[in-house]
């Protein structure tokens, strides 16, 4: 019966080519527009670390005071060096790291080729376990390396391929901006989207990192941040040490707290720390701290690019209009065949069968629209790069789920759109139709 109805549906579609083309195009365009914007949105608004996002927190401490704070008396986005070091030293969280983005130059071995830029982060040994960094060779550096300010480095698989041809390079040395580092780990190519831990100060959708070095070593070598540095009021630092002591915020702290109890405890610890600073006269205001987890942090920073949420909204509205249009056209199409329906009903077809036949017919329209939509989606996604900056454009790509989703959404939407017209068709009174003929 099903295949017979599909055949009937196809035949009926051929009978009104213009109306059919209109419907298929409406669905195709609507689905394509929604899918293209959705594919970008999906990439930027997802949870970058779903299994742990509830347990990773970024502590913020008010080091600027009410006069300079962000709107709503929100404390600065990051910590100054003094506070960051003090927080880490107490070791109140099970795992913790402070970090900041860096850009160094790498010199390939062999000497002949020219140097190139590598991007990465300074961090502490917990960084890798906290953020679940996968390793190809070796592992994170040890906590002792942080203390001993060791010249060690974790490099990405990509950089390892470039420098060592993909060999196991553990124990070998590389030169970064004129200083040697010993390779202790090679990470798999790893890039969170969005890169939540550097959502402020770095870039949320940047290139994957190539290097990670201990922050203590970077301090010794005075490696400047490649990310943001935000200062307020009287800027009185005159040199590197002055900068470290200043109110400029640029160090990003993260802590792992495995339960609500731990999180509450940490929150109290932060307040206690801020109160101590107030008592010591360092800060002239009451404690004002925040402890946000990954998703709260991304939400607070509005990490999803405005462009993508606005266009998703517009695309959804667009799809809604296309569906309304389809309802209207299906209504016209079905009711035009009232006579035919009357005959079928008179010959014994039940309402159920009318429903089935017309919903299947709508499904075939949806399928055709989905195919067109798929084509347009593929076209559109290859065109996103022409319209938007690469960091947004490369997030959009056509994969199996998107293909399936496109077809599914168009069939489902069309069938839903067909419910009312089908109901109207099933209400056709056989007697009335037969009489008027």
């Amino acid at each position: 019966m099903f295949s017979y109805y599909v055949q009937l549906g196809l035949r009926s579609l051929r009978r009104n080519p213009v109306l059919t083309a209109l419907m298929v195009m409406a669905i195709g365009f609507g689905v394509a527009a929604s899918m293209i914007t959705y594919s970008v949105f999906r990439a930027v608004s997802g949870n970058p670390i779903p299994e742990k996002s509830e347990r990773l927190f970024i502590p913020q401490i008010d080091s600027w005071g009410p006069k300079y704070n962000l709107p709503g008396n929100e404390p600065p986005y990051a910590l100054n060096y003094v506070d960051a070091v003090a927080l880490m030293r107490t070791h109140q969280a099970k795992r913790q790291t402070m970090l900041y983005p860096i850009e160094l130059s790498a010199l390939p071995l062999g000497g002949q080729s020219i140097p190139f830029t590598v991007e990465g982060f300074t961090a502490q040994s917990d960084f890798f376990a906290m953020f679940d960094v996968p390793f190809q060779y070796g592992s994170a550096w040890a906590a002792a390396d942080d203390e001993h300010r060791a010249a060690v480095v974790v490099i990405s698989r990509k950089l390892n391929d470039k420098l060592f041809g993909g060999e196991n390079s553990l124990g070998r040395e590389i030169t970064l901006s004129g200083h040697n580092y010993r390779v202790v780990g090679v990470s798999e190519n790893w890039n969170l989207k969005p890169r939540f831990f550097a959502a402020w100060g770095g870039t949320s959708f940047g290139n994957p990192s190539d290097i990670y070095i201990p922050i203590s070593r970077a301090m010794d070598l005075r490696v400047d941040t490649a990310g943001s540095n935000s200062c307020r009021g009287h800027i009185d630092y005159g040199d590197w040490d002055g900068w470290l002591q200043s109110n400029c915020v640029w160090v990003i702290p993260w802590v792992q707290l495995d339960s609500t109890a731990e999180a509450e405890q940490y929150q109290q610890f932060l307040e206690g720390y801020a109160a101590d600073q107030q008592r010591a006269g360092r800060y002239g205001w009451a404690p004002n701290v925040r402890l946000r987890n990954v998703m709260q942090w991304l939400d607070y920073l509005h990490v999803v690019p405005q462009e993508s949420s606005v266009s998703l909204l517009v695309a959804l509205g667009f799809f809604a209009i296309c569906l309304i249009n389809t309802i209207g056209l299906l209504l016209a199409k079905f009711l035009r065949r009232s006579g035919e329906i009357g005959v079928r009903r008179a010959l014994g077809a039940s309402r159920r069968e009318i429903y089935l036949q017309y919903l299947i017919e709508a499904g075939t329209v949806g399928f055709a629209g989905g195919l067109l939509g798929l084509l347009l989606t593929a076209l559109g996604i290859s065109g996103v790069g022409l319209l938007f900056q690469p960091q947004i454009a490369r997030l959009a790509h056509l994969d199996i789920t998107l293909v399936g989703l496109t077809l599914l959404v168009s069939i489902f939407a069309t069938v839903v759109a067909a419910l009312y017209p089908t109901w109207r068709a099933a209400q056709v009174q056989p007697a009335w139709q037969l009489k008027s003929n």
Partner: protein, 412 residues
């Protein structure tokens, strides 16, 4: 002449179709109004002038490798001299940033030395030398340029101000609304930071950022005669007319020949100013194009929907039309019946749609940094959609008017 009552009676029998068309018109109006508004805002931003003579400008981003920060000053100087001697180069300089680059310095300016409170104005800082105006191709409208003696070498972490500065007219007017900025003292920091004297006013220069957050001070720029040390720097080059392409190739090669210990790599390392502008506004332009395409398709689909449904109605009512024609209605009457019917549905649609458009905009204002929709857009949208409806209904209505009176006697 207008047959409103019979139309209303007829529409009551086609509630579903009527509501569908009205809804479609309403939603289309809401989206098209907002989309047009977004397009207009983006285009306005796209066409903001940078204040530079943008043709024949090349920007090179340079990073020294394995070089001590302190030594970079002399290396930069050698580079700039090598660049200035290149045939085809009109002038060149080393700087920290330039209009639309994407990153740079911003700071508050005060009229008295103070540490606290809101600064008198926000500005970007361009650290340049006495060649800056020639490289920018910008006009000095008052005062004088820097002299080469005034250009100092400074560590970016230590420099707070320079004795002389050149400001843009926008910044001068913001600080000194009376227009007497030339020769006045300003302060770039707290009590222990020496004052700076405004020695010149340049007509226009944009900040390095194209984002909306910099909208408030988009033309507040200050030139300081200082060459910053540090491994990261930018060379801004003005080529002689017609020479830009060869300079884009030769300049990086010359630099590498002068000294190999540097990185000039990545797709943003060597950019003509045309590319800089394109990069800066790529998302804005993309958004405008996307919105434009969506608007066009949307209008087409709405028109197609109206054609489809009206054709159906005409087909359904052939007999009634025949009866009316037989009873003396002219073709004009039939035509105007369908046009009026569509106009009535259209008016209902645009009334709802105008409300939706404003509501959608108000909601977007709270969610995103977006300005309020002006009434003009809604009015233009209303007129456009009503006209679109009339145009779409014309073909089916014409067909209806050609129905012969004799059809009244035929069965369907």
């Amino acid at each position: 002449m207008l047959q409103i009552k019979p139309i209303l009676a007829a529409l009551k029998r086609h509630k579903a179709g009527t509501i569908l068309i009205a809804m479609q018109i309403a939603l289309t109006l809401a989206i098209v109004c907002n989309a047009l508004f977004i397009i207009q805002q983006r285009v306005e931003r796209l066409s903001r002038p940078s204040g530079m003579n943008e043709s024949d400008v090349l920007a090179i981003t340079n990073r020294w490798v394995a070089v001590n920060d302190k030594d970079t000053a002399s290396l930069n100087k050698t580079d700039v001299q090598a660049l200035r001697q290149l045939p085809g180069v009109a002038d060149a300089m080393a700087t920290n940033s330039f209009p639309l680059r994407g990153g740079g310095w911003s700071t508050g300016v005060n009229l008295e030395p103070k540490d606290e409170g809101k600064p008198a104005a926000q500005t970007t800082l361009y650290f340049v030398d006495d060649h800056a105006l020639a490289v920018y191709g910008s006009q000095l409208i008052a005062g004088r340029n820097f002299t080469s003696d005034e250009v100092i070498v400074a560590d970016p972490k230590e420099i707070k101000s320079t004795p002389q500065v050149i400001v843009t007219k926008a910044l001068a007017d913001k600080l000194f609304p009376k227009g007497d900025a030339l020769g006045k003292q300003i302060y770039l920091g707290g009590k222990d930071v020496p004052s700076s004297t405004i020695i010149g006013i340049v007509k226009q220069l944009q900040v390095p950022w194209s984002g909306t957050w910099a909208n408030d001070f988009v033309e507040n720029a200050m030139l300081l005669p200082a060459q910053l040390t540090g491994t990261y720097g930018i060379y801004l080059i003005r080529a002689k007319p017609g020479q830009l392409e060869s300079i884009a190739k030769n300049a990086p090669e010359t630099l590498l020949k002068t000294n190999r210990m540097r990185v000039i790599s990545g797709d943003r390392a060597v950019r003509t100013y045309e590319k800089v502008r394109e990069d800066a506004y790529k998302n804005d332009r993309g958004m405008a194009i996307l919105m434009g395409v969506i608007c066009l398709i949307l209008l087409a689909i709405t028109a197609a929907g109206i054609v489809g449904l009206t054709s159906f109605w005409v087909g359904q009512r052939r007999k009634q039309i025949g009866v009316r024609r037989a009873l003396g209605a002219t073709r004009r009457d039939i035509l105007s019946y369908f046009l009026t019917e569509n106009l009535m549905i259209g008016i209902a649609g645009v009334v709802i749609g105008a409300g939706l458009a404003v509501g959608l905009n108000l909601w977007m204002v709270t969610q995103f940094e977006m300005a309020r929709l002006s009434v003009m857009y809604v009015l233009v949208g209303v007129v456009a959609l009503l006209l679109l409806g009339q145009a779409a209904v014309l073909a089916p209505a014409m067909r209806a008017s050609k129905v012969q009176p004799v059809e009244a006697t035929r069965s369907v």
